[in-house]
């Protein structure tokens, strides 16, 4: 593996560009390079691993049991990547992906805007695999913008990369297997978590039970039981939570919650929120990939074929970005995506591709077993997706509240894109990454129609902000120079 830290060191064109160095991206890049494709792996973090294996090559948390065996499994992926011929560009952002200007070139060829250390450049790729992973589902409750309130995943990242643990009176709240895992990791590292507020709706158990048999035969069962038993030791767990509110001034001071008919308030220095993860589809959306609403996972999922190619030719999505499946599944899907790209580039015959893919697909089936049960069981409650309280902030960047959104729907504003024009929601620096799902679901709920009918934000590039100076200094590409000469 060759590591690049200067935008000028990038080639004009790569056979395969992989965006994101999590499990799917690392596997895709290694598999692509193995086929002899010139492969570039771009990632915005300083080291490989993505979020699930964040800091795996650099973490100061030495005790293996703190982060657990599943975490250290990522080492194999890093090893394969390091041994490969792929080029790796850390601390590099991709701010635009679009079709390359017309020419004699192959039809799927893309023009990609990248930026390293304050210098931008346009390069080309014949195939792109977006391994942009997942992000934590928005958790809009009153007070969630206060300092001291953050995602449980965010606290886990601080632990993995820097050996930091939340201090003082720590409360975790939400739902899902990851909530229990993150809590266990933080506690193993020494964080004193006084209470866990479990928002899983009671009625989900009834719905999930018919998917239980697969779950009972899956490795999730053993892991889940261990986490559940561990959680009960030395930590209060309050189940059936129906409302949560963070209070404070310059930072969070207390958390109020309701369970059954009871309301309680506890002092709190750090409130960690988590209610599952959803595909990070910003790049796919900006590229113009067709998306569907998935009513089980309550999120947008890109339409893909069996090699994860989207509706945009040459643009593939591997891993959780194409639908949540977890780390193991992500790596397998990364391999399949790279095999598909290799075939489209003429590197692999259909037969070879299928032969190489067969064992991966078997593994993938196994890795997915039991997930449906978890998806249904931990489908987050509506109260925490569509905030009831009108003063709850939905768009954190532009500080647009649920009440304001409902009022504007009443004016006849039917979808998220018109809503942007009226309220500026989704137009701040995060470009709707954090409010997109909430805005769609809230409009759908207010209008009494399905999220599919309401649609989602149409995202505009740059997918990551760049400075005017960076853009002004963009070197002229040979293609652009040719266009001028013509």
């Amino acid at each position: 593996m060759k590591t690049i830290k200067d935008v000028a060191a990038l080639s004009e064109c790569y056979d395969l560009l992989v965006i994101g160095a999590g499990p799917a991206g690392m596997a895709a890049a290694a598999t692509g390079a193995e086929q002899g494709l010139s492969t570039l792996l771009i990632d915005e973090n300083p080291a490989p691993g993505g979020q699930i294996y964040r800091g795996i090559t650099t973490t100061p948390v030495a005790a293996k049991e703190t982060l657990g065996a599943d975490y250290w499994r990522g080492t194999d992926l890093v090893r394969d990547l390091t041994a490969s011929e792929a080029t790796y560009a850390p601390e590099t952002t991709v701010w635009s992906v679009g079709p390359a200007a017309e020419g004699p070139s192959d039809p799927g060829r893309m023009e990609v805007g990248v930026s390293v250390g304050g210098a931008a450049r346009l390069i080309q790729a014949r195939q792109v695999i977006a391994a942009t992973g997942a992000l934590e589902r928005p958790f809009p409750i009153p007070g969630w913008t206060l300092p001291g309130v953050m995602t449980a995943g965010g606290a886990q990242i601080a632990l993995k990369t820097s050996g930091l643990v939340p201090d003082g009176r720590v409360v975790v709240a939400g739902s899902g297997p990851l909530l229990y895992l993150l809590t266990a990791q933080l506690r193993a590292a020494g964080a004193k978590i006084s209470v866990m507020l479990d928002t899983t709706p009671h009625e989900n158990w009834g719905r999930a039970i018919r998917y239980a048999s697969d779950f009972l035969r899956s490795p999730y069962l053993g892991k889940g039981l261990k986490l559940l038993l561990g959680a009960h030791r030395g930590m209060r767990i309050v189940r059936g939570i129906t409302a949560i509110e963070a209070d404070g001034d310059s930072r969070v001071r207390s958390v109020r919650f309701r369970h059954g008919s009871k309301e309680e308030e506890l002092p709190c220095d750090v409130l960690l929120l988590h209610q599952g993860v959803v595909p990070n589809i910003n790049l796919a959306n900006a590229v113009g990939c067709a998306l569907d609403w998935d009513d089980d996972q309550l999120t947008w999922v890109p339409q893909t074929d069996e090699w994860y190619e989207t509706s945009v030719k040459g643009f593939t999505i591997a891993g959780d970005g194409a639908g949540i499946g977890g780390a193991e599944s992500a790596a397998l899907r990364g391999r399949l995506a790279a095999l598909g790209a290799g075939h489209r580039l003429g590197r692999l015959s259909a037969k070879d591709r299928d032969q190489m893919a067969a064992p991966v697909r078997t593994e993938l089936m196994r890795a997915g077993r039991g997930r449906r049960f978890l998806d249904v069981l931990y489908r987050p409650a509506k109260a925490f997706r569509v905030p009831k309280a009108d003063d709850t902030i939905v768009c954190r960047c532009e500080e647009v509240t649920a009440g304001k959104l409902r009022e504007t729907v009443a004016l006849g504003v039917a979808g998220p894109n018109q809503m942007k024009s009226f309220l500026r929601c989704g137009m701040g620096p995060c470009q709707g990454r954090l409010c997109g799902l909430t805005v769609t679901e809230l409009i759908a709920d207010t209008r009494g129609v399905s999220p599919n009918e309401v649609g989602g934000y149409r995202l505009r590039p740059p997918i990551k902000p760049i400075t005017l100076g960076e853009l002004a200094a963009l070197p002229k590409t040979p293609a652009a120079i040719k266009a001028v000469e013509r």
């Binding site: 635009s96 679009g98 079709p99 200007a101 023009e111 805007g113 346009l122 113009g288 018109q418 024009s421 009226f422 500026r424 137009m427 701040g428 620096p429 470009q431 505009r460 590039p461 740059p462 902000p465 760049i466 400075t467 005017l468 100076g469 853009l471 002004a472 200094a473 963009l474 002229k476 590409t477 652009a480």
Partner: protein, 375 residues
């Protein structure tokens, strides 16, 4: 026949619910006409909803100045017209000279306009330029200001015209595509994907798609589909009030009340009108950024958060096609505004309604008719 479109038989059918279609519909309704608007997407979906929002008389071609001046009067009482301020602010627009030679040509232009009786453009020296635009590069020798110009919010404006038109009884059919127009006696039948509807008067305000309708009517025009690009920065502290434009290089530059800065000027991306999408050309946006870098050094570290393009129509002479059909009674054209039609919207709608209702207008529009493209 007009069943699927609801209501009774319309007097006028407007094709296209951009700012022009909505304005014409409103003004026709104000004259007591029954209007149906047919729009293939939704009102303001394309350039009317996503343009730079410049409300400018400044630097226009002489042929469209009367229409622009008329429109400006409406802009200054826009809230009375549509019950919505449309986000209109009037802090002037400034055309900045980047060199002495350019400044000389500006002087000549203002003198010429004065000789035609237009006084909205005013030559300013370096000192007045600096007073109006303190952040401008020190090398700029002066410019032209049009003090009553300003800017508005395009989507809000188009929606306001649409809402007011609806309140006055105009029917809007969105998501309906026109497939053909045939003469039927003294009236016209407009066929769509959901059925046909008849009216005596038809307005072709279909923007980037208007050439297809014109061709169908036997009046082909050399319309080019373009995608002017815009970008916007993160919020920065307020530092500029008027809109700034350039002559030699492409730039329009405006800071909104919320602090974001809009950068445009007519660099073109690729328009794919059959897919309803555009593709940005980053090399040209880089050129655009470089112009700002030169003209406003203090902008160099600001963050670009969004870039986009709208689909619209440009004519070879950069002037709109506006007026009666050359060959057909009852057909009117209103398209091809060539990336500067937003300001003209209110006035052009009023003049078009006058033409439709009375057959004539006092506002000079010669030089804008479709006959200039007749072979």
């Amino acid at each position: 026949m007009s069943g699927v479109f609801g209501g009774g038989a319309p007097d006028v059918i407007v094709i296209g619910a951009g700012i022009h279609g909505c304005s014409t519909a409103l003004h026709c309704a104000m004259r007591g006409l029954k209007v149906l608007v047919i729009e293939k997407d939704h009102a303001g979906r394309h350039s009317s909803g996503v343009n730079a929002g410049g409300v400018r008389q400044l630097a226009r071609h002489v042929a469209e100045i009367p229409l622009s001046v008329y429109s400006m009067e409406l802009w200054h009482r826009i809230a009375q017209l549509v019950d919505d301020d449309c986000g209109f602010t009037s802090d002037g627009q400034v055309l900045v000279a980047e060199s002495e030679a350019e400044y000389d040509s500006f002087r000549a232009r203002v003198t010429e306009l004065n000789s035609f009786g237009f006084s909205h453009e005013e030559l300013i020296d370096a000192r007045e330029l600096r007073r109006l635009v303190p952040a401008v590069a020190e090398t700029c020798p002066g410019g032209i200001v049009s003090r009553r110009d300003g800017a508005a919010l395009p989507f809000k404006t188009t929606q306001a015209f649409r809402r007011k038109a609806e309140a006055l009884g105009v029917r809007f059919c969105e998501g309906v595509r026109v497939t053909g127009i045939q003469a039927e006696g003294s009236a016209w039948t407009v066929s769509t994907n959901v059925g046909a509807v008849r009216a005596a008067k038809i307005v072709n305000a279909a923007g980037a798609w208007a050439d297809r309708i014109a061709a169908d009517l036997g009046e082909p025009v050399p319309l080019e589909v373009i995608a002017p690009m815009l970008m916007i920065t993160a919020r920065v502290e307020h530092f500029i009030k008027p809109v700034v434009i350039l002559r030699g290089r492409k730039l329009s530059f405006k800071q909104f009340a919320n602090g974001t800065v809009l950068i445009g000027g007519g660099h073109l991306g690729r328009a794919l009108r059959d897919q309803n999408t555009t593709v940005l050309d980053w090399a040209k946006l880089a050129e655009n950024a470089k112009t700002v870098w030169d003209l406003f050094p203090i902008m160099r570290g600001t963050t670009i958060v969004r870039a986009w393009a709208g689909i619209e129509a440009r004519m070879p002479d950069d002037l709109p096609v506006f007026g009666k059909s050359r060959i057909h009674e009852g057909i009117f054209h209103q398209f091809g505004f060539s990336a500067h039609g937003f300001q003209l919207g209110p006035g052009a709608g009023a003049v078009m309604a006058e033409l439709i209702a009375t057959g004539n207008t006092n506002t000079p529009i010669s030089g804008l008719g479709i006959e200039r493209f007749a072979a």
